[in-house]
Point group: C2
Chain length 139, copies 2
DNA sequence: CCGATATTGATAATCATTATCATTTATATG
DNA sequence: CATATAAATGATAATGATTATCAATATCGG
């Protein structure tokens, strides 16, 4: 996995600094988790105490650009990032209205709907589906 | 429609001030549009030149709480509001990656998926589906 | 009309994020 | 290994969307 990422960075002439390596490690150690910039910053500081918050923001953005991370926005208005996992091509989020926990489900139900929308003249590139409700613990 | 909204406000002991009336008019004149707070402010000022931006934010939030408006967040991270329309119980958004235009489609395709998720212990209250692509003009 | 209290507007404060800039550092090349 | 280039860093100022504060005003029921 790291090799693929290394290749992506090289492809774009991006440097693999210690800070970027650290942030990448944080994300790889938290697959499926949707971490805010602040959360990434806290975790990265444990390994690289001198890392700066501006670097975290920049790196998260850069990694999103090259396809290493997936960036989402939820109701708080804050961006959250998760490691891109090509095995799970597409997944949806369930957001618990009580505890805020974000769970993922896997499904590919939307192809028919996309087809229908494209017949109206649109060109669909991607989609995002969120469910709001209560998780098993809060129900 | 206004009568229903009046009733909702009364139900909660909220007062119907001129400013709130103005903002409500703005939203009712723009059905289906997703207006940012700033956009609402600009439109409201034309009718009530003295209205304050803080009031716009507060009122949009208050109207969302009582179910008069529906509040969404998109990739800009900014909140956008639209008038709640009970005839269109559920709709989805298509966001053009080029011009940013937001179009709505109506579909109720997701009931099966919600059933399946509920069998896993979740309780689903609502869902939100966004498509990203290019509109007919930008394609 | 009066009183209680919700609501307002201006503006300060907050927060997540981005811009700025001097300094540091990764990497390619000889 | 040494060097040059320019990408990247960290601290912090700046930005923009939104919320808090507070004195003043307005709504609504009695």
């Amino acid at each position: 996995m790291k090799k693929i990422i290394d290749a992506k960075l090289k492809e774009k002439d991006y440097r693999l600094t210690d800070q970027r390596r650290t942030i990448l490690d944080v994300m790889l150690k938290n697959p499926g988790k949707h971490l805010s910039a602040e959360e990434v910053f806290e975790k990265a500081r444990k390994k690289s105490p001198g890392i700066g918050i501006a670097t975290v923001y920049r790196t998260l953005e850069k990694f999103t650009e090259i396809g290493v991370l997936y960036k989402s926005v939820f109701e708080s208005g804050k961006f959250r990032y998760e490691i891109y996992n090509s095995e799970i091509h597409h997944h949806h989020h369930i957001i618990c209205l009580n505890c805020g926990k974000i769970t993922e489900v896997q499904d590919d139900l939307l192809n028919d709907l996309e087809r229908r929308i494209e017949m109206q003249g649109f060109k669909i590139i991607d989609h995002e589906l969120k469910f709001y409700g209560y998780c098993p613990n809060c129900k």
